[in-house]
């Protein structure tokens, strides 16, 4: 039972509704895109940029892959497909939603997002 001491259980602390951490930065947005199947390959989790790095701005697929993922997400949500994490895009990411990923292929995206066990190869065993 949930612990209480008062006869009328008035000391039952209503569990403070945990609030989901708003998606407000690049890292959270990358997690979102990866978690819900918008990233075709694993989106490399970049550390937040710490000023200009010696080898110049980050190049290559991660920036482009991320922009492409954002663009795909923006298109289906009828947002300007800028590829940039603008406020409207972040607001859409924060709307109440179902936890099932939005697109195929599910397994790759699911396999890399944190907290999900590695993809089980082959047909799913029937026995629960």
């Amino acid at each position: 039972e949930t612990l209480f001491h008062s006869r009328d259980r008035s000391d039952l602390e209503p569990t403070p509704l945990r609030r989901a951490k708003p998606i407000a930065d690049l890292h959270a947005a990358q997690r979102f895109l990866s978690k819900y199947g918008w990233a075709e390959g694993p989106l490399r989790m970049e550390a937040a940029p710490r000023g200009p790095s010696p080898e110049g701005p980050p190049q290559g697929p991660s920036g482009a892959a991320l922009a492409a993922a954002v663009r795909r997400f923006q298109k289906v949500n009828a947002l300007p497909a800028s590829g940039k994490l603008d406020l409207a895009t972040l607001a859409t990411m924060n709307r109440p939603r179902c936890g099932v990923p939005d697109t195929r292929p599910l397994l790759q995206a699911a396999a890399t997002s944190p907290g999900t066990p590695p993809a089980v190869p082959g047909p799913l065993p029937r026995a629960r």
Partner: protein, 424 residues
């Protein structure tokens, strides 16, 4: 945690073609699925009975548009239950996917039948317009378990983001067709079908006539909304609820309607009942002091029983009774069978196409005011009878000829059974 290892979100669809149109893939091969709200995972926000009521309704809504039946199973071992629902917060129920607190992710569903609701969300009953409608979220997640993916189509219950539930949350045409792509359409024979004609007085005293279409099967019935191409939301309903005094498994309904007479009869076995449309119940005794139910042989001398079906031809003022391969034409004014009857059904209703005829034992002879045509229904098929409007286009068509058979489900959509446990 092991329990969920193989419960990853839907893997590559089993039927590649299903993936091509993004329509998902069928998740179950059996017709009746069991479900349970697991005892260790009730929500703390709604009474348990209300949680179960809402889930029962959510399953029923899918059952009303698919051949699937859903039954709440509180007795079987957990592993034997097909779909298990539960509420949890944060790390919950051994699930690898942690909930994030109120806001954002409110629930998720696993292909092999587990549905989890984040109890940090504010779930509410259908009557409330605050919070997240538990009914709408449950219908969405059940859609996933049945194999439907997300879609961004406006109005679909399978949109990934929650949209506040309108006053009448229902499954729209496209969601119905999407799930029927996976599980097929609803087929099956009817005991009878008929249009119930109502007369009413308009504002200026004029008589208006309207009709409602009904399909009867076993102990339940549907009202069919012709203009919406579907049955009434929430049907089927038990006959004893909507038609007091009418028996189940009826054989026929006949509405005898002349200038002087307006009588409605249900037939079953060797008896018939007269229905009082004013009081909305079957007569026990009518104005002539006749008590009901009455033997068919008394009210319709020369007509055999039990019948297959019957219909009333208003212009000729004849009731056509069908039994096996014979048809009896009964003159309601002289209260007797016409001399030249009975006749073979193939003689009265000749097939337009060779070897395309019900031949005998039809389920219903249904005159549809919506289609202005007579249909002979048998099993999952119907034959439409040639009428006056067909003749000019096809002078070669025999009077009362039968066009080739078609599937009932192509004309009347989504007339689906539900599990009898949800009929109460």
């Amino acid at each position: 945690p092991k329990r969920f290892l193989h419960m990853l979100p839907p893997g590559p669809p089993q039927q590649p073609e299903a993936a091509s149109h993004g329509g998902g893939s069928r998740a179950f091969s059996k017709k009746t699925l069991t479900w349970r709200l697991v005892g260790e995972a009730y929500s703390s926000q709604l009474p348990v009975d209300e949680q179960r009521f809402i889930f029962r309704l959510a399953f029923r809504m899918w059952s009303e548009v698919t051949p699937l039946h859903f039954q709440e199973d509180l007795g079987a071992r957990g592993a034997a239950v097909d779909i298990k629902l539960g509420f949890g917060r944060g790390r919950h129920l051994g699930c690898p996917r942690v909930f994030d607190g109120s806001g954002q992710e409110f629930a998720h569903a696993w292909r092999l039948g587990d549905i989890h609701f984040d109890d940090d969300e504010h779930f509410t009953a259908p009557s409330s317009d605050a919070g997240l409608s538990l009914l709408k979220v449950a219908v969405h997640e059940i859609g996933h378990v049945l194999g439907l993916p997300h879609t961004y189509r406006t109005g679909s219950v399978m949109q990934p983001n929650y949209t506040p539930q309108g006053p009448a949350f229902e499954l729209d045409w496209s969601d119905r067709k999407a799930i029927q792509k996976l599980y097929g359409v609803c087929e099956g024979s009817f005991d009878t079908a008929f249009d119930w004609v109502r007369k009413a007085r308009g504002r200026h005293g004029e008589v208006t006539v309207s009709f409602s279409t009904y399909f009867f099967r076993n102990s339940w019935y549907w009202l069919y909304e012709n203009r919406n191409n579907r049955t009434r939301y929430g049907d089927p309903i038990q006959i004893l609820t909507g038609w007091r005094g009418v028996p189940t498994h009826v054989d026929a309904f006949v509405h005898i309607w002349t200038w002087r007479r307006d009588e409605r009869y249900f037939f079953k076995g060797h008896q018939y009942w007269r229905y009082d449309s004013d009081k909305d119940q079957a007569h026990t005794e009518d104005e002539q002091g006749r008590r009901y139910p009455r033997p068919i042989s008394e009210g319709f001398p020369g007509i055999p029983s039990p019948l297959d079906t019957a219909f009333y031809e208003r212009r000729k003022q004849l009731v056509y009774f069908f039994k096996a391969s014979s048809v009896f034409a009964f003159d309601v004014n002289r209260n007797r069978v016409l001399e030249s009857y009975p006749k073979k059904m193939t003689e009265v209703f000749p097939g337009v196409e060779p070897r395309n005829h019900p031949l005998r034992s039809i389920d219903s002879a249904y005159y549809s005011y919506a289609h202005k045509s007579l249909f002979l229904l048998k099993g999952s098929s119907y034959w439409r009878v040639v009428n006056d409007r067909d003749q000019p286009r096809g002078p070669w068509l025999p009077p009362n000829g039968l066009f080739p058979k078609r599937s009932i489900s192509e004309k009347w959509f989504d007339v689906c059974d539900v599990h009898t446990s949800t009929l109460r």
